[in-house]
């Protein structure tokens, strides 16, 4: 067992974990943050996407011990924008029907937040290309693309 110290959504967490423990299981089983989901075992689906020091990663492909000393943000850690109920990306998903069953949504939202952090005004093609690592089986993606465009348009200037 190995001790890890990981900042999660701004709070310090620590635990003794088996070295093979995946970050996603640390978040879900150890911390009870079940918003991050697991949809595959080959790093294809992206349902488990979280931010590691601000960058989108698939938490099924990161060991908890590799995240030691890092800051993790999960879907539970997104903050509402001023004047909105949610973070602009979440708000965009609500406005544009960017989710149906909601299982891929946390990972999809985290991937979209990272995209807009890097490229605040992406084109439709840039959105589609940058979301290649996140699978949604319900929406056919059009309304996810619309949601990101909505967020880009309505996000408060930084």
């Amino acid at each position: 067992m190995t001790e890890v110290n990981i900042s999660v959504n701004g709070a310090h967490t620590t635990a003794e974990v088996a070295p093979r423990t995946l970050l996603v299981h640390y978040l879900r089983e150890e911390l009870g943050l079940t918003g991050t989901h697991v949809g595959c075992d080959t790093s294809n689906c992206g349902a488990c996407t979280v931010h590691l020091d601000g960058e989108a990663v698939k938490s099924c492909t990161v060991l908890a011990v590799q995240a030691d000393g890092f800051a993790v943000t999960t879907i539970e850690g997104l903050q509402p924008a001023e004047g909105m109920d949610y973070h602009p990306v979440q708000q965009g998903f609500h406005e544009c029907h960017g989710l149906q069953c909601g299982y891929c949504t946390p990972g999809m939202v985290m991937a979209c937040v990272a995209l807009l952090d890097e490229n605040p005004h992406p084109t439709e093609i840039e959105i589609r290309t940058s979301l290649e690592g996140n699978l949604c089986r319900c929406t056919g993606y059009q309304m996810i693309v619309d949601s990101v465009l909505w967020a880009a348009e309505h996000a408060p200037a930084k």
Partner: protein, 781 residues
């Protein structure tokens, strides 16, 4: 303003957006153990021995079980007694019949330990001849000594509708053509794999399952274990997609409770994706042998279809019925005077096949829409013109389908109008000119235009339609209870998993009762809190359950008006209802709010004679007289790379007719999702086996579920022909896209390749297949 028809944003979103959804694997019960399967690595083999010694001694292992430990349990329910040899045991018994067939169960303290121990269980197999396809299974039947996957059954082929000799109308037709279509095996791939938590306490059994029909599971679990239904509660919490794959009974639904009872602790099972790819039932997997007779105008005179349905290694009751729907719907939107359909279900050493979005209807739309294009090609006619020549006209409804005129009556539609609208949106005539120019220019991608005028059968259904698939009934139920503060709780018997029914049902109830949308709460998915239910499948939620909600709402409103009239000392016929409350016509200043009326409904001293406490509570079991028949016209424009064979969807145009639209946002979402799965079946997805029955596509690395970059934007249009089958006029929309999309795409690909003499291409139209069809071009772009 009417709520029905408005693009209201979803009630479902708030929890799901912030990671506060509750899916089965999120549920953590105190003391729970984790179970996993040891799965067969052989497609067909006798089990010689199972050695669990090493695994039993591993850390965290609590128990390892084989079928011998469950000798007291019956087989998995669903199939009728006449096919007793096909009844599936909860674990493989003596023989394994597909790769992934569960042979043993490992129970451990956590999922890591369970997976480790499962790897350490050693099973010795004696291989048997493998029949991994329809063709090999039928070929074995030709040999009296050939392999029978169920020796007690003596056959691998189960004829459902026998083949008849060709009708004179077919034999005498001026022109005939025939084609075999292979409808490629797909995996549903809901992003949430299968998961179940079972907790058998002294007071009874509670099961959380990712499932589309919790009452159905409750009914079957209680008969399986021989326990009373009131001691079993099944909850389908948030469910991460289903697409039909979550209405089947899988072994863990029965084994998790059995082991929980044995060990006195809660048991969780949650598949990995790679397990789900082998274990969750697949879809499609049909062969359709089609013969068609027609005349020089393109008029179809007779159609003859023999459908062979691969049902896999353990036939599923839904899987056994897929081909029935294909057979019924084989004529599509066309007035074909003579139709002959035969159906044979074929057992193979593959994953069982059952419902996947569309379930039998995509196969029908594919075979008829490809056939129409082949007739056009044969005659050198515009495919749109051949469609117009054969359409059932708008004044011919109800229309008895030639495939089964006793059972299949198309309800309503306007197929020519849908194609008119599609051609207008596409700019069809200009596209034909553009195509001629482009295909003559070698520097441009080859252009193809494909049409699909599809039809499906939905809104399941009239009495008797679902019972054949093992369901308790075909009705759906709704209950509405008004709370003392005037808010409403709508309990639905269906169990949605992404469709947005909480929103749509609240819209229906809000309009029909006159209660504010935000004052309505919709509940479902729990046998303890919902009156009976059937489930969410067969595009039935709005058409059958929504209609039930409307009928219950009408009852509530009538009683509320009586109470308001009593309180306002007026006649009920003089009461006007709005979201603000109740007023007497002509004196709008004097009102009673919904809260006033609702409170009075619980205070008998305030009630008029004839109404008692709790009167604002209505339950409806809704029976519908017929199926509904959603239809539409889809157009696809592809560009094909002349060197690589890569198919790019340049435009995808949709004209949908689901009758009345409750919420255009939700309707569009359903169409998009279905079309995406249909495009994907046409271009990307194919679950394949080698001749030894070894799956070749059992992870998401090998099985291509498309990403945003693989799919186009959709151009959406609509016509509306309300159905007379229910009071809403709504036909159902969940499966339409998956039914209509594949032939539009393949028709476009074949159209683009027609210059190479290509008449047909089976799905998926991969770059390699297209490149082969183009004569293996070399060079670079």
């Amino acid at each position: 303003m009417s709520l029905v028809g408005a693009a209201v944003k979803r009630k479902e979103d708030p929890n799901l957006l912030v990671g506060r959804g509750r899916f089965v694997d999120d549920i953590k019960l105190p003391g729970a153990l984790f179970m996993t399967f040891v799965r067969s690595t052989e497609a067909h083999a006798r089990i010689v021995s199972i050695d669990t010694n090493e695994a039993t001694a591993m850390p965290g292992v609590v128990g390892i079980y084989t079928i011998d430990d469950f000798a007291d349990l019956p087989t998995i329910p669903g199939l009728p007694p006449e096919v007793a040899p096909l009844h599936r045991p909860v674990l493989a018994k003596g023989t394994v019949r597909f790769v992934g067939d569960p042979v043993a169960v490992v129970v451990a303290e956590d999922r890591y330990q369970a997976a480790d121990a499962a790897e350490a269980v050693f099973i010795e197999y004696e291989p048997l001849p493998v029949l991994a396809s329809i063709d090999s299974s039928l070929a074995a039947m030709a040999d009296p000594e050939g392999t029978r996957i169920y020796p007690d059954l003596q056959t691998n082929a189960l004829p459902i509708f026998p083949e008849e000799p060709p009708a004179p109308e077919l034999l005498n037709a001026p022109m005939r053509l025939s084609q075999t279509f292979i409808n490629n095996r797909c995996s549903a791939v809901p992003i949430e794999p299968l998961a179940v938590v079972a907790d058998w306490a002294p007071s009874g059994l509670t099961v959380h399952a990712t499932f589309q029909a919790p009452h159905h599971l409750r009914n079957q679990l209680t008969s399986f274990f021989g326990i009373p239904q009131h001691e079993c509660r099944v909850i389908a919490p948030d469910v991460g997609g289903g697409f039909g794959s979550k209405i089947c009974f899988y072994p863990e639904f029965f084994l998790a409770p059995a082991i929980s009872r044995k060990l006195g602790r809660p048991i969780k099972a949650a598949q990995t994706r790679s397990e789900a790819m082998l274990h969750m039932h697949h879809g499609r997997a049909q062969r359709n042998d089609v013969e068609v007779g027609f005349d020089a105008s393109g008029k179809v005179l007779a159609l003859r279809v023999h459908t062979y349905q691969d049902v896999g290694g353990y036939p599923d009751p839904t899987g056994m019925g897929l081909g029935v729907l294909t057979s019924w719907m084989s004529c599509g939107v066309y007035a074909i005077p003579v139709a002959q359909t035969a159906l044979t279900n074929v057992i193979t050493n593959t994953t069982p096949v059952a419902a996947y979005r569309g379930a039998g209807r995509p196969e029908a739309s594919f075979l008829i829409e490809r056939t129409i294009d082949m007739i056009a090609d044969e005659l050198g006619l515009d495919p749109a013109a051949v469609r117009y020549t054969n359409f059932i006209q708008a004044d011919q409804f109800p229309y008895p389908a030639a495939t089964n005129p006793e059972a299949v009556f198309y309800d309503s539609g306007n197929y020519p109008a849908a194609l008119d609208e599609l051609k207008r949106m596409m700019g069809y005539d200009a596209l034909l000119a553009e195509q001629t120019a482009r295909n003559a220019d070698p520097s441009q991608p080859l252009m193809g235009i494909g049409l699909s005028c599809w039809l499906e059968i939905a809104g399941f259904g009239p009495n008797g339609s679902l019972e054949g698939f093992g369901h308790l009934g075909s009705w759906e139920s709704a209950q509405i209870r008004i709370q003392p503060d005037g808010t409403a709780i709508v309990s639905a018997g269906t169990s949605p998993h992404g469709q947005g029914n909480a929103t749509a049902f609240a819209q229906i109830a809000g309009d029909a009762m006159g209660i504010d949308f935000d004052s309505i709460h919709v509940r479902f998915g729990d046998t303890e809190t919902q009156q009976q239910g059937i489930g969410t499948m067969g595009s039935r939620a709005i058409a059958v359950c929504g209609d039930a909600i409307k009928k219950a709402s009408v009852q509530i409103r009538e009683r509320a008006v009586q109470i308001a009239a009593h309180l306002l000392e007026a006649a009920p016929e003089d009461i006007e209802v709005s979201a603000e409350g109740f007023a007497v016509r002509g004196t709008p200043a004097v009102t009673k709010s919904w809260a006033d009326v609702a409170t009075a409904a619980f205070q008998p001293l305030q009630l008029p004679e004839g109404l008692g406490a709790g009167t604002l509570d209505a339950t409806v079991f809704n029976e519908v007289p017929n199926f509904s028949f959603p239809s539409g016209a889809y157009g696809c424009i592809v560009g094909i790379d002349r060197v690589t064979g890569d198919v790019d969807i340049e435009r995808y145009v949709v004209v949908d007719d689901c009758g009345t639209v409750i919420n255009p946002l939700l309707a569009e979402g359903q169409v998009h999702g279905g079309v995406a799965q249909g495009i994907s079946q046409a271009l990307y997805e194919h679950f394949t086996y080698d001749e030894n029955g070894q799956p070749q596509t059992s992870t998401l690395v090998d099985y291509l579920v498309p990403a945003a970059s693989d799919l186009p934007a959709y151009e959406s249009g609509r016509i509306v022909t309300p159905t007379p089958v229910n009071s809403l006029g709504a036909k159902g929309i969940g499966e339409s896209g998956a039914v209509g999309a594949p032939p539009a795409v393949v028709n476009a690909v074949v159209d683009a390749l027609s210059g190479f003499g290509v008449r047909h291409m089976d799905m998926p139209c991969t770059p390699e297949k297209v490149w082969q069809a183009m004569g293996q071009p070399t060079g670079s772009n």
